[in-house]
Protein backbone atom coordinates (compact mmCIF):
# COMPACT_ATOMS: atom_id res chain seq x y z
CA UNK A 1 0.00 0.00 0.00
CA UNK A 2 1.34 3.38 -0.99
CA UNK A 3 1.31 6.07 1.66
CA UNK A 4 0.60 9.59 0.45
CA UNK A 5 1.40 12.46 2.82
CA UNK A 6 -1.45 14.95 2.81
CA UNK A 7 -0.05 18.43 3.60
CA UNK A 8 -2.78 18.81 6.24
CA UNK A 9 -3.45 15.29 7.55
CA UNK A 10 -0.09 13.52 7.23
CA UNK A 11 0.52 10.04 5.79
CA UNK A 12 -2.61 8.16 4.70
CA UNK A 13 -3.40 5.19 2.48
CA UNK A 14 -3.49 5.84 -1.23
CA UNK A 15 -7.12 4.62 -1.21
CA UNK A 16 -8.11 7.84 0.61
CA UNK A 17 -7.04 9.96 -2.37
CA UNK A 18 -8.15 10.87 -5.86
CA UNK A 19 -5.74 11.59 -8.66
CA UNK A 20 -6.21 14.85 -10.55
CA UNK A 21 -3.66 14.88 -13.37
CA UNK A 22 -0.89 17.33 -14.16
CA UNK A 23 -0.47 20.26 -11.77
CA UNK A 24 0.32 23.86 -12.60
CA UNK A 25 -1.77 24.01 -15.79
CA UNK A 26 -2.93 27.64 -15.82
CA UNK A 27 -6.41 28.52 -17.03
CA UNK A 28 -6.03 30.67 -20.18
CA UNK A 29 -6.06 34.36 -19.31
CA UNK A 30 -8.35 35.10 -22.25
CA UNK A 31 -10.16 31.85 -23.15
CA UNK A 32 -12.20 33.50 -25.93
CA UNK A 33 -9.00 34.35 -27.78
CA UNK A 34 -7.97 30.71 -28.16
CA UNK A 35 -8.56 28.86 -31.41
CA UNK A 36 -9.78 25.24 -31.38
CA UNK A 37 -6.30 23.77 -31.43
CA UNK A 38 -5.12 25.91 -28.53
CA UNK A 39 -8.25 25.11 -26.53
CA UNK A 40 -7.84 21.39 -27.20
CA UNK A 41 -4.24 21.62 -26.04
CA UNK A 42 -5.31 23.37 -22.83
CA UNK A 43 -8.06 20.85 -22.12
CA UNK A 44 -6.50 17.57 -23.23
CA UNK A 45 -2.75 17.78 -23.80
CA UNK A 46 -0.60 16.77 -20.85
CA UNK A 47 3.02 15.97 -20.39
CA UNK A 48 4.01 12.37 -19.87
CA UNK A 49 7.53 12.48 -18.50
CA UNK A 50 9.58 9.59 -17.22
CA UNK A 51 10.77 10.83 -13.85
CA UNK A 52 9.57 13.62 -11.52
CA UNK A 53 6.10 14.88 -12.44
CA UNK A 54 4.07 17.52 -10.57
CA UNK A 55 0.47 16.40 -10.30
CA UNK A 56 -2.73 17.16 -8.44
CA UNK A 57 -4.15 14.89 -5.75
CA UNK A 58 -7.19 15.26 -3.55
CA UNK A 59 -7.63 13.83 -0.06
CA UNK A 60 -11.12 12.53 -0.77
CA UNK A 61 -11.97 10.71 2.48
CA UNK A 62 -9.93 13.02 4.69
CA UNK A 63 -9.80 16.82 4.59
CA UNK A 64 -11.15 16.91 0.99
CA UNK A 65 -8.46 19.39 -0.05
CA UNK A 66 -6.59 19.49 -3.32
CA UNK A 67 -2.83 19.58 -3.11
CA UNK A 68 0.14 18.89 -5.35
CA UNK A 69 2.57 16.01 -5.34
CA UNK A 70 5.88 15.54 -7.08
CA UNK A 71 5.93 11.89 -8.11
CA UNK A 72 8.57 9.93 -9.95
CA UNK A 73 6.61 8.20 -12.70
CA UNK A 74 9.29 5.53 -13.12
CA UNK A 75 9.58 4.46 -9.47
CA UNK A 76 6.14 5.68 -8.31
CA UNK A 77 7.96 7.25 -5.35
CA UNK A 78 6.34 10.45 -4.13
CA UNK A 79 9.21 12.90 -3.70
CA UNK A 80 7.23 15.74 -2.11
CA UNK A 81 3.71 16.94 -1.41
CA UNK A 82 2.85 20.62 -1.09
CA UNK A 83 -0.12 22.98 -0.81
CA UNK A 84 -1.69 24.44 -3.96
CA UNK A 85 -0.21 27.91 -3.67
CA UNK A 86 3.28 26.74 -2.82
CA UNK A 87 5.84 26.59 -5.64
CA UNK A 88 6.84 23.30 -7.17
CA UNK A 89 9.84 21.98 -5.23
CA UNK A 90 12.91 21.20 -7.30
CA UNK A 91 13.12 17.49 -7.94
CA UNK A 92 15.79 16.32 -5.56
CA UNK A 93 15.49 12.64 -6.20
CA UNK A 94 15.63 10.61 -3.03
CA UNK A 95 16.44 8.08 -5.76
CA UNK A 96 19.85 6.86 -6.88
CA UNK A 97 21.41 5.38 -3.79
CA UNK A 98 25.06 5.24 -4.82
CA UNK A 99 26.00 2.53 -2.35
CA UNK A 100 23.95 0.07 -0.36
CA UNK A 101 23.06 1.70 2.94
CA UNK A 102 25.05 0.69 5.96
CA UNK A 103 23.04 -1.17 8.60
CA UNK A 104 22.85 1.90 10.83
CA UNK A 105 21.30 3.86 7.93
CA UNK A 106 18.33 1.60 7.43
CA UNK A 107 15.75 4.06 8.62
CA UNK A 108 17.01 6.95 6.58
CA UNK A 109 17.18 5.02 3.32
CA UNK A 110 14.37 2.55 3.80
CA UNK A 111 11.52 4.56 5.25
CA UNK A 112 9.87 7.51 3.62
CA UNK A 113 6.90 7.57 1.39
CA UNK A 114 9.29 10.29 0.29
CA UNK A 115 8.91 13.65 1.87
CA UNK A 116 9.71 17.25 2.23
Amino acid sequence: MLLVTCPWCGPRDETEFHYGGQAHVPHPADPAALDDRQWAEYVFYRENPKGPFAERWMHATGCRRWFNALRDTASYRILATYRPHEPRPSPQPVETPTAPPSPGDRRAAGSSGGNR
Binding site: W8, C9, E16, T61, G62, R65
Partner: protein, 205 residues
Protein backbone atom coordinates in the same frame (compact mmCIF):
# COMPACT_ATOMS: atom_id res chain seq x y z
CA UNK B 1 -52.37 15.05 8.74
CA UNK B 2 -53.18 18.06 10.90
CA UNK B 3 -51.88 16.16 13.91
CA UNK B 4 -48.59 15.34 12.24
CA UNK B 5 -47.84 18.86 11.15
CA UNK B 6 -48.86 20.15 14.57
CA UNK B 7 -46.14 18.07 16.22
CA UNK B 8 -43.52 19.57 13.91
CA UNK B 9 -40.82 18.07 11.73
CA UNK B 10 -38.63 17.02 14.67
CA UNK B 11 -41.31 14.58 15.82
CA UNK B 12 -41.52 13.08 12.34
CA UNK B 13 -37.81 12.54 12.05
CA UNK B 14 -36.65 8.96 11.83
CA UNK B 15 -32.99 8.15 12.48
CA UNK B 16 -31.09 6.26 9.74
CA UNK B 17 -30.59 3.24 12.01
CA UNK B 18 -33.98 3.16 13.72
CA UNK B 19 -34.74 -0.13 11.93
CA UNK B 20 -31.62 -1.73 13.48
CA UNK B 21 -32.13 -0.78 17.13
CA UNK B 22 -32.93 -4.35 18.18
CA UNK B 23 -30.24 -5.89 15.99
CA UNK B 24 -27.61 -3.57 17.47
CA UNK B 25 -28.67 -4.50 20.98
CA UNK B 26 -28.60 -8.21 20.11
CA UNK B 27 -25.06 -7.86 18.75
CA UNK B 28 -23.71 -6.83 22.16
CA UNK B 29 -20.75 -8.96 23.17
CA UNK B 30 -20.15 -9.60 26.87
CA UNK B 31 -17.24 -11.18 28.67
CA UNK B 32 -13.55 -10.30 28.71
CA UNK B 33 -13.64 -9.01 25.14
CA UNK B 34 -16.88 -7.09 25.46
CA UNK B 35 -17.99 -4.64 22.81
CA UNK B 36 -21.32 -2.94 22.21
CA UNK B 37 -22.75 -0.85 19.41
CA UNK B 38 -25.60 1.66 19.54
CA UNK B 39 -26.88 4.58 17.56
CA UNK B 40 -26.70 8.07 19.06
CA UNK B 41 -29.64 9.20 16.98
CA UNK B 42 -30.46 12.68 15.77
CA UNK B 43 -27.50 14.58 17.18
CA UNK B 44 -27.37 18.19 16.08
CA UNK B 45 -24.55 19.02 13.64
CA UNK B 46 -23.47 22.24 12.02
CA UNK B 47 -21.00 22.55 9.17
CA UNK B 48 -18.82 25.60 9.65
CA UNK B 49 -16.48 27.11 7.08
CA UNK B 50 -14.48 30.24 7.77
CA UNK B 51 -10.93 31.54 7.40
CA UNK B 52 -9.35 30.66 10.76
CA UNK B 53 -7.28 33.87 10.65
CA UNK B 54 -10.32 36.13 10.20
CA UNK B 55 -12.03 38.23 12.89
CA UNK B 56 -15.14 36.11 12.30
CA UNK B 57 -13.26 33.02 13.49
CA UNK B 58 -12.56 34.83 16.76
CA UNK B 59 -16.21 35.73 17.19
CA UNK B 60 -17.23 32.15 16.40
CA UNK B 61 -14.77 30.82 18.98
CA UNK B 62 -16.37 33.12 21.53
CA UNK B 63 -19.84 31.89 20.61
CA UNK B 64 -18.66 28.27 20.93
CA UNK B 65 -16.70 28.93 24.10
CA UNK B 66 -13.64 27.23 22.60
CA UNK B 67 -10.97 28.08 20.04
CA UNK B 68 -11.45 26.40 16.67
CA UNK B 69 -9.09 23.41 16.58
CA UNK B 70 -6.22 24.22 14.27
CA UNK B 71 -4.96 20.81 13.17
CA UNK B 72 -6.06 17.48 11.81
CA UNK B 73 -7.20 15.20 14.64
CA UNK B 74 -8.01 17.97 17.09
CA UNK B 75 -11.37 18.69 18.70
CA UNK B 76 -12.51 21.38 21.12
CA UNK B 77 -15.30 20.86 23.63
CA UNK B 78 -17.27 23.44 25.57
CA UNK B 79 -20.31 22.41 27.53
CA UNK B 80 -22.15 19.71 25.63
CA UNK B 81 -20.84 20.85 22.23
CA UNK B 82 -17.72 19.62 20.48
CA UNK B 83 -16.08 21.12 17.41
CA UNK B 84 -14.24 18.65 15.18
CA UNK B 85 -11.52 19.67 12.69
CA UNK B 86 -12.53 18.57 9.17
CA UNK B 87 -10.17 20.70 7.09
CA UNK B 88 -7.99 23.82 7.28
CA UNK B 89 -11.08 26.04 6.99
CA UNK B 90 -13.82 23.56 7.87
CA UNK B 91 -15.26 22.20 11.11
CA UNK B 92 -18.20 20.13 12.32
CA UNK B 93 -19.95 21.29 15.49
CA UNK B 94 -21.74 18.40 17.21
CA UNK B 95 -24.35 18.81 19.94
CA UNK B 96 -26.14 15.95 21.72
CA UNK B 97 -29.49 14.56 20.55
CA UNK B 98 -32.29 16.88 21.45
CA UNK B 99 -30.07 19.94 21.71
CA UNK B 100 -30.81 22.68 19.19
CA UNK B 101 -28.27 23.08 16.39
CA UNK B 102 -26.36 26.31 17.16
CA UNK B 103 -26.92 27.56 13.63
CA UNK B 104 -28.32 30.99 14.41
CA UNK B 105 -25.68 32.06 16.91
CA UNK B 106 -22.83 30.87 14.67
CA UNK B 107 -24.33 32.60 11.63
CA UNK B 108 -24.58 35.78 13.68
CA UNK B 109 -20.92 35.43 14.69
CA UNK B 110 -19.88 34.90 11.07
CA UNK B 111 -21.73 38.06 10.09
CA UNK B 112 -20.98 39.36 6.61
CA UNK B 113 -17.56 37.72 6.31
CA UNK B 114 -16.92 34.95 3.77
CA UNK B 115 -17.85 31.53 5.07
CA UNK B 116 -20.85 29.37 5.79
CA UNK B 117 -22.87 27.96 8.67
CA UNK B 118 -25.23 25.15 7.68
CA UNK B 119 -27.37 22.79 9.75
CA UNK B 120 -26.27 19.34 8.53
CA UNK B 121 -27.88 17.28 11.29
CA UNK B 122 -29.50 14.94 8.76
CA UNK B 123 -26.28 14.44 6.79
CA UNK B 124 -24.72 11.90 9.13
CA UNK B 125 -25.73 9.73 12.04
CA UNK B 126 -23.59 8.68 14.98
CA UNK B 127 -22.67 5.14 15.98
CA UNK B 128 -21.19 4.54 19.40
CA UNK B 129 -18.82 1.61 19.78
CA UNK B 130 -17.61 0.81 23.27
CA UNK B 131 -15.88 -1.90 25.21
CA UNK B 132 -12.41 -3.41 25.70
CA UNK B 133 -12.53 -4.94 22.19
CA UNK B 134 -13.69 -1.76 20.43
CA UNK B 135 -10.25 -0.82 19.12
CA UNK B 136 -9.67 -4.34 17.75
CA UNK B 137 -13.00 -4.17 15.92
CA UNK B 138 -12.02 -0.88 14.30
CA UNK B 139 -8.54 -2.09 13.44
CA UNK B 140 -10.05 -4.71 11.14
CA UNK B 141 -11.14 -1.96 8.80
CA UNK B 142 -9.11 1.15 9.53
CA UNK B 143 -5.52 1.59 8.40
CA UNK B 144 -4.70 4.40 10.81
CA UNK B 145 -2.71 3.78 13.97
CA UNK B 146 -5.40 3.76 16.65
CA UNK B 147 -3.04 3.15 19.55
CA UNK B 148 -3.76 5.71 22.29
CA UNK B 149 -0.27 7.21 22.00
CA UNK B 150 -1.22 8.31 18.46
CA UNK B 151 -5.01 8.50 18.56
CA UNK B 152 -6.00 9.55 22.05
CA UNK B 153 -9.20 10.48 23.78
CA UNK B 154 -10.75 13.60 22.26
CA UNK B 155 -9.18 13.12 18.82
CA UNK B 156 -11.21 12.82 15.63
CA UNK B 157 -10.20 12.15 12.02
CA UNK B 158 -11.93 11.70 8.68
CA UNK B 159 -10.95 8.32 7.28
CA UNK B 160 -12.26 4.94 6.12
CA UNK B 161 -13.66 2.19 8.33
CA UNK B 162 -14.25 -0.84 6.19
CA UNK B 163 -15.35 0.63 2.88
CA UNK B 164 -17.21 3.54 4.48
CA UNK B 165 -15.93 7.13 4.84
CA UNK B 166 -16.49 8.26 8.42
CA UNK B 167 -15.40 10.77 10.97
CA UNK B 168 -13.87 8.57 13.67
CA UNK B 169 -13.89 10.21 17.09
CA UNK B 170 -12.38 8.72 20.21
CA UNK B 171 -14.48 9.80 23.18
CA UNK B 172 -12.94 7.64 25.91
CA UNK B 173 -10.45 4.91 26.73
CA UNK B 174 -12.69 2.24 25.22
CA UNK B 175 -15.29 4.31 23.40
CA UNK B 176 -15.54 5.70 19.92
CA UNK B 177 -18.08 7.54 17.84
CA UNK B 178 -18.33 6.92 14.12
CA UNK B 179 -20.09 9.46 11.92
CA UNK B 180 -21.03 7.97 8.52
CA UNK B 181 -23.25 9.65 5.96
CA UNK B 182 -26.84 8.60 6.62
CA UNK B 183 -27.06 6.53 3.45
CA UNK B 184 -23.96 4.51 4.41
CA UNK B 185 -25.01 4.01 8.04
CA UNK B 186 -26.87 0.73 7.51
CA UNK B 187 -23.90 -0.81 5.73
CA UNK B 188 -21.42 0.40 8.35
CA UNK B 189 -23.59 -0.85 11.22
CA UNK B 190 -23.85 -4.31 9.65
CA UNK B 191 -20.11 -4.31 8.91
CA UNK B 192 -19.39 -3.49 12.57
CA UNK B 193 -21.82 -6.10 13.93
CA UNK B 194 -20.10 -8.72 11.78
CA UNK B 195 -16.66 -7.55 12.96
CA UNK B 196 -17.81 -7.70 16.60
CA UNK B 197 -19.20 -11.24 16.50
CA UNK B 198 -15.90 -13.11 16.91
CA UNK B 199 -15.22 -11.49 20.30
CA UNK B 200 -18.05 -13.50 21.88
CA UNK B 201 -15.86 -16.58 21.48
CA UNK B 202 -12.72 -17.40 23.42
CA UNK B 203 -9.55 -16.02 21.88
CA UNK B 204 -7.75 -18.53 19.66
CA UNK B 205 -4.10 -18.94 20.63
Amino acid sequence: MADLTATGPAALRRSPLAHLTDALRAATVTGPRAVALAEWPCAAMVSLRVDPASPAAGRIAQALGATLPARCGRTASAGSRTTLWLGPDEWLVVAPPGAPAPTAELAAALGEEPGSVVDVSANRTVLELRGPAARQVLEKGCALDLHPRVFGRGQAVSTLVGPVPVVLWRTGVDSYRLLPRSSFADHLARWLMDAMSEYALPEVD
